[in-house]
């Protein structure tokens, strides 16, 4: 009886631990099932056009390249913005801030992390986009850069909090040894502590990038959603997530457009999957040293 119960508990534990695997597999299967027949009906090569024209009286074109470049541009810009703020902020909070400063900083960082993305998007539309427009003398403030700044706002708390944990978990002995050898505080931080915490910091950045790629509402509201291939931060772009969110509600079930939206989902999933893989590679490489 006892061993039987042990086995049951074991099975329950294994089951709960592998739920994520099951869910990932199910998502892949589900996405694949909905998107599959697109491969031969309009043809897989239809996805590699340079135009996304899902509603047309003449011929619908489902090229996802402009959507991919849109997502990549916004993500790259947001990453460039969030790394300095997130990582330097974490260094300050973990190493230099006094207790009272930390007590003010930490709650605010947590509040920023909890602001719903629609609210951030609304803020972007009404406040940030006019600022961007005037600052750079543009005709409109709905640009890739506006979206990237908002996404950086949303990702900074994640990057900052996780990096701070990484920095704080560097053994005390490292710090003391460095100071004892005559290094000053800045040298200790940038030559000893940050390199030691680097795997954690990189993981933090990757988490932030993951959040940025998947974010939908804020970019839908401020990037202008013009599906064109561009690398200009002051151009309007349409991201993959915004496309799915804007078009899925209205699309005819089982149509080519519907299947194309599922392909966007699959590519989005593959992108985040590769990102995670890369993050793990980096982590392992640094841990070996």
């Amino acid at each position: 009886m006892n061993s039987w119960r042990d086995k049951l508990i074991y099975i329950i534990l294994v089951g709960s631990a592998s739920t994520s695997i099951l869910i990932v597999v199910l998502i892949f299967v589900f996405l694949g099932k909905e998107a599959f027949s697109f491969i031969w009906d309009p043809g897989f090569s239809e996805l590699w056009h340079t135009k996304w024209i899902p509603v047309s009286f003449k011929k619908e074109i489902f090229g996802i390249l402009p959507l991919m470049t849109g997502t990549l541009l916004v993500t790259a810009l947001a990453t460039l913005l969030m790394i300095p703020f997130g990582v330097l902020g974490a260094i300050y909070v973990a190493e230099l801030a006094s207790d009272s400063e930390r007590q003010i900083l930490k709650p605010f960082i947590e509040i920023l992390a909890g602001v719903p993305s629609v609210v951030i998007g609304f803020f972007g539309l009404v406040v940030l986009s006019p600022i961007i427009k005037h600052l750079f003398g543009l005709n409109t403030g709905l640009t890739a850069l506006t979206g990237a700044i908002l996404l950086a706002f949303m990702a900074i708390p994640t990057v900052l909090t996780v990096s701070e944990d990484a920095i704080q978990s560097v053994p005390r002995a490292f710090r003391e040894a460095s100071l004892a050898l005559g290094a000053n505080q800045l040298q200790t931080i940038f030559r000893i502590i940050v390199p030691a915490a680097l795997p954690g910091i990189i993981a933090a950045i990757m988490l932030g990038v993951g959040r940025v790629i998947g974010e939908t509402m804020a970019v839908l509201m401020v990037t202008g959603n013009a599906a064109k291939i561009t690398l200009n931060p002051f151009d309007s772009v349409r991201t993959m997530t915004a496309t799915i969110a804007a078009e899925m509600g209205e699309v005819a079930f089982g149509s080519h457009h519907y299947q194309a939206l599922f392909w966007i989902g699959i590519f989005l999933l593959i992108m985040t999957f590769l990102l995670n893989l890369m993050a793990q590679r980096v982590l392992r490489k640094y841990q070996m040293r």
Partner: protein
């Protein structure tokens, strides 16, 4: 051991079903008593076009005041969503700002549904620009060329040397398709067109961006008149310019106008019939006018 367990299970199951069985009697037995006090409530669901949501809920609210035994729920989502819901049998009435497509009619007959079309009111689409823009009149051809990307500068239509910022609704909007059909002669939108998630986002953007052009329902345009300028429209280059208004939409002189439809499955009966009769009545058409749309005639 196993046998006994199964027996217990069976026992439990049969007890459970007995309880459900008895309970159902109880519920059935009770309902006539309640029925004596209030008549049976009929539910009516309306779903579809975002353009028509406000109008439909205004109708529903007034209608429910005089018909306490009918409960109506109205949800948006877009004309396509509404038609899809009609085909799936999840809504009684579909509101649509465009005509049902042949593809959808074919799909409906496959599912054994025969869509029945009722014109409830009319809507005009106003082309809006920033009040500081000197342009006052555009022809349909010029508007089409702006939206297909042939004209990229306000100079092309006699304005100042400024790049045109083209604003459109999302491709899921019924207005998007209607505008494409009427103003752009079924050509594709330019890749530079910025697709805005809502009418209010278009108004917001035109208010902020001096050289933007957008299109909105006449009702919204009239409400935002102090923030945006509604352009007068010429059907042909040499035809008279017509300003968007109730009168011009009604007498069909304004080019960018459309009927707003109800679609139901087959012939009307019961609550749906009463509601449609109300909508087409004098009182219902008065609400159309009050909501910024245009009565049928």
């Amino acid at each position: 051991m196993k046998q006994i367990k199964e027996n217990i299970m069976l026992n439990k199951l049969s007890k459970l079903s007995a309880i459900i069985f008895l309970a159902s009697f109880f519920i059935v037995g009770c309902s006539p008593k309640n029925g004596e006090k209030t008549e049976t409530v009929q539910y009516l669901t309306i779903k579809g076009s975002d353009t028509m949501v406000h109008l439909a809920s205004d109708w529903a609210e007034t209608f429910m005041k005089t018909h306490p035994n009918i409960e109506i729920s109205v949800t948006g989502g877009g004309s396509g969503t509404g038609i899809a819901a009609l085909l799936n049998g999840t809504t009684d009435i579909c509101i649509a700002s465009r005509k049902i497509k042949n593809k959808e009619i074919k799909l409906a007959s496959e599912k054994g549904i025969s869509p029945n079309e009722i014109v409830t009111s009319r809507d005009g689409i106003a082309v809006v620009v920033n009040p500081e823009n000197p342009i006052k009149v555009l022809s349909i051809e010029q508007i089409g060329k702006i939206y297909t990307g042939a004209y990229k500068n306000w100079q092309d239509v006699g304005g100042p040397d400024q790049q045109i910022i083209v604003l459109s609704r999302e491709s899921s909007s019924g207005t998007y398709v209607f505008f494409q059909e009427k103003a752009m002669k079924k050509k594709d939108y330019t890749q530079d067109a910025m697709l805005m998630p809502s009418t209010s986002a278009i108004i917001q953007s035109v208010t902020q961006d001096k050289w933007a052009i957008g299109y909105v329902g006449l009702g919204y345009g009239v409400k935002a008149q102090d923030k945006v300028k509604m352009l007068h429209i010429k059907d042909q280059a040499n035809s008279p310019e017509i300003s968007p208004s109730v009168a011009s939409v009604q007498n069909d002189s304004y080019s960018l106008a459309r009927p707003l439809h109800f679609y139901t499955n087959g012939a009307l009966n019961g609550a749906a019939k009463e509601f449609v009769e109300f909508v087409l009545s004098k009182e219902g058409q008065k609400i159309v006018l009050e909501s910024g749309y245009v009565p049928v005639d």
